[in-house]
Amino acid sequence: MASYNHDTIRDLIDGRLPWQSTRSIMSQYKDDDRFFKYIDILQERVTFNDPILLPIGEHLYIVAKQGEPQGERVVKCGCSYEFGHYTRNWKLKAMINVRDDEEEIAEIYPGRHSYDPDWMEIREFICPGCATLLEVEAAAPGYPIVFDFLPDLETFYRDWLGRELPKESK
């Protein structure tokens, strides 16, 4: 089975690996040991020490908190900003900018590229800590904010990875 070293995976996920090598990796059977190597690379990049349990997007991680309450599984941005427990939608603790007027729309979609704000709005979910744009929704006005991903961490660690999930104090 395929297996790649730390630097290769780092360059691959950053899009910096030469295309020939990337393509070759994409065409191979997948490397079953990817997950924890990936986590190690991400852990080196974040500004906190809480162990990452699962990335759920660019800059967004479910971590096991080292501080109190210890082991609590919370969503954090890479800058350390904390969005609350992973079973609640992190977006509800973010900042939002809604593009629903002509001027705001034209910044991204000018003229004939625009949409009708009566029918649709662009919602930008921004990290209050570092101002990174974490997610964009295009939705009809009034449509509830989407909870993108609620992982089944227990099944993932226990049954799929064969590892014990760090305990979470109740």
Partner: protein, 730 residues
């Protein structure tokens, strides 16, 4: 081990029911609990599969050269497949792999409806179907199958599908956008025996000849399909003689069971179990347009939410609960069509190894709520342009899978998703003076969504046929009374992001040598974008307008050697057609359904780009300089959206990144983001008042009335999210 060989005294229908029973009892396809042949002699087993797959591929390539249609020849809108006697897909060629299970439904439908007794299934018979309620995606996807007999025993089916360019509907072309009920969709062939003794019936061909605007495409394509099927059939029969019938029957079923197991294990390898959610929207704008019937005369907004549950055993469950009702338009879909969408996605994201077959279908299930556009409860609804809603719907699926890939570390597989690509359908008087009809399939080269590690594909991708091509302009010009003034990259058509979505292209034409050219475009969202970005990337702008100039002064411009409009141009507020040409100029919102054009008129049509991935201000500034130099992104969007400051060397027409200014600009953008934004909880509080007052335009309000009426779950979640009274209704 359960014996998978058939009982020779059974009818095919009994056999089908027996295999279904064994699947229910054992959870394994046809009751195959052990992959015995694979384990005993893997080389022999794999060799058989490779041979079958190569036979389907070579049959497709042969058929492409027989076909008269540029859709098949140039663009490759065809697939050849091999099925078990009960209609389960064993192996497919490349091409429109949508049809793994759609053709399967067609074969099973014939078996379940007693075709063994009448009209009979005999050696040399040819059956055809384009009824989506039986098993296809839409009317132009005409499928032809032939039974494969070994001695007197039915041992399988060879099938071929091609997308026909003209189907004789209320508007010309293949995707009949103006169809509002089944009765206006064009020529139906409903699971019909259309030939015997290996030849198409003469009366069937006469029917095609007399009911289509451009019969040559369908007729020659059907001959190509028959040729592909006969080639595949004869090769399979020879192969059976080599390997033995018992081995063939058992091994081909093991392929399917292996496909099922492989799908489950790939999910466990690439994904993370849990609940994934996403949505998209689609605007349908036809109010007051010519040819709209009273029941259809209203604009519509569709919401398409999708929930994906990835279970601990690797099974995936897709749930479209919360989407809207079917309507009097051509965009409805059938469960067969939804199967098509499922396979469009799976074959590109998970089912990428050789064994694409019905095993993956068995490892995945869908909730398609009855009465919605995904599963109409009336078989007379139109499905002629079902891709309109189907493709955005499965674009969500692609993004949900990609969320799992990103979580799992396989970012190279994350793909923001397939996009729709609006097609130009046309007909009227050809440049040769006779009647014609055509689906201009250059739409098959749109921009793809971005990947997790790189930009999307520019002008070279479409969801339904990842092997597709736009075809040569000169070839299309042979079939349509229009001359290309240009095909050009549409700047800013890809969604911004750290990795931007693939850009698309715009074509501009001069109508030539005709008194009557009717154009009816299809699969095109209006007022809203029918795709999305991911992880901070933006959607691509897909609410296109059409540009026409009637009674233009183009002839005079040519004579005076003035600059002609070869594209819409990079000014988003004023197109080159508006800027350069004199005449009756129109910018048309929504699909182009209008009175015919004629020689000297101009027409422009834009295809779709894909969504972006990641925060656009994290994009490498050098990539943006390259984008601007090559016309993919305008300097304005580079500065505003990607926060890159560029210096333009006008003499050499090159762009250089001002690194210091870019760093400052990006810092400034971060600051302004936070000063403009509000906490989500505050925003919810203020928006709640708007919801309580139902302060929405009619189309949005009707969308909520419809979806809250059809889905109690959505209604409950809507009320809960906005903390509305229990009796709140829109």
């Amino acid at each position: 081990m359960t014996d998978a060989s058939e009982n020779e005294t059974m009818t095919i229908k009994e056999q089908l029911l027996e295999y279904d029973r064994r699947f229910r009892e054992t959870g394994c396809y046809a009751g195959i609990t052990e992959l015995k042949y694979r384990e005993d002699d893997p080389l022999r087993y794999e060799s058989l599969h490779t041979k079958l797959r190569s036979m389907t591929i070579s049959a497709r390539e042969m058929a492409r050269s027989i076909s008269a249609s540029p859709g098949v020849r140039e663009v490759g809108e065809m697939v050849v497949a091999l099925y078990t006697p009960e209609g389960d897909a064993i192996s497919l060629s490349t091409g429109i792999m949508v049809h793994v299970h759609t053709m399967s439904r067609f074969i099973k439908w014939m078996i379940q409806n007693g075709y063994e007794e009448s009209p009979g299934i005999c050696p040399g018979d040819i059956f055809a179907n384009n009824d989506a309620f039986i098993g296809t995606v839409q009317v132009p996807d005409v499928m032809v199958v032939v039974p494969i007999f070994h001695d007197d025993e039915l041992v399988g089916w060879a099938g071929t599908v091609a997308h026909e360019l003209e189907v004789g509907g209320i508007t010309p072309g293949g995707d009949v956008y103006l169809a509002q009920e089944r009765f206006t969709e064009g020529l139906f062939v409903t699971a019909e025996k259309v030939g015997f003794n290996d030849e198409l019936r003469r009366d069937y061909l006469i029917r095609l000849e007399r009911n289509l605007r451009m019969p040559i495409y369908w007729m020659f394509d059907d001959k190509a399909k028959v040729a592909a099927n006969l080639e595949l059939r004869d090769q399979v029969k020879e192969l059976i003689d080599d390997v033995g019938l018992d081995y063939y029957k058992r091994a081909t079923r093991e392929f399917i069971e292996e496909g099922r197991r492989a799908q489950l294990s790939r999910v466990k390898q690439l994904m993370v179990p849990g609940r994934y959610r996403g949505h998209t929207f689609y605007g349908h704008l036809t109010e007051g347009k010519p040819g709209i019937l009273p029941l259809s005369d209203g604009n519509l907004l569709y919401s398409i939410p999708l929930e994906l549950e990835v279970r601990g055993d690797g099974q995936m469950h897709l749930d479209f609960d919360g989407t809207g009702s079917w309507g009097y338009h051509s965009m409805n879909c059938t469960p067969a069509g939804m199967d098509g969408g499922l396979f469009v996605t799976l074959t590109q994201s998970m089912n990428y190894e050789g064994k694409v077959n019905d095993g993956a279908w068995l490892a995945t299930d869908m909730n398609l709520p009855s009465g919605t556009w995904t599963n109409p409860d009336r078989h007379t609804v139109a499905t002629a342009t079902s891709w309109a809603l189907l493709l955005p719907a499965f674009g969500i699926f692609q993004r949900l899978l990609s969320r799992g890939f990103v979580s799992r570390g396989f970012k190279e597989e994350a793909f923001v998703g397939q996009v729709n690509s609006p097609m130009v359908e046309m007909g009227g008087q050809s440049q040769y003076g006779d009647q014609f009809g055509m689906a201009l399939f250059e739409c098959s080269a749109a921009g793809s969504g971005a990947l997790g590690i790189k930009d999307g594909i520019d002008t070279g991708y479409v969801g339904w046929n990842p092997e597709s091509d736009m075809g040569n302009m000169e070839v299309w010009e042979q079939g349509i009374p229009m001359l290309y003034l240009g095909r050009s990259i549409t700047a800013d058509s890809g969604g911004p992001g750290r990795h931007r979505g693939g850009t698309s292209f715009t074509s501009t034409w001069l109508v030539h040598n005709t008194d009557e050219l009717t154009i009816a475009t299809s699969e095109h969202s209006s007022r809203v974008f029918d795709n999305a970005g991911m992880c901070g990337g933006y959607p691509a702008p897909t609410a296109h307008r059409h540009f026409t100039v009637r009674d233009s002064n183009i002839q005079q411009m040519v004579e005076e050697r003035k600059p002609l409009p070869h594209e819409l141009g990079s000014d988003p507020h004023m197109s080159d057609m508006e800027r350069l040409v004199e005449g009756d100029k129109n910018v048309i919102e929504g699909p182009h359904i209008d009175k015919p054009l004629q020689s000297g008129d101009l027409f422009a049509h834009s295809y779709n780009g894909g969504g972006g991935y990641g925060d656009p201000i994290e994009r490498d500034p050098l990539d943006i300089a390259r984008d601007v130099e090559n016309g993919y992104v305008t300097a304005e969007i580079a500065e505003r959206t990607h926060a890159v400051v560029l210096d333009h060397d006008e003499e050499r027409d090159t762009w250089r990144v001002d690194e210091e200014a870019t760093v400052a600009r990006r810092k400034e953008i971060r600051g302004s983001r936070l000063s403009k934004a509000v906490p989500v909880e505050d925003w919810i509080e203020s928006e709640r008042d708007r919801v309580l007052e139902r302060d929405f335009v009619d189309e949005v309000r009707k969308m909520y009335q419809d979806t809250m009426g059809i889905s109690s779950r959505f209604a409950e979640e809507f009320r809960e999210f906005w903390r509305l009274p229990e009796d709140f209704a829109m």
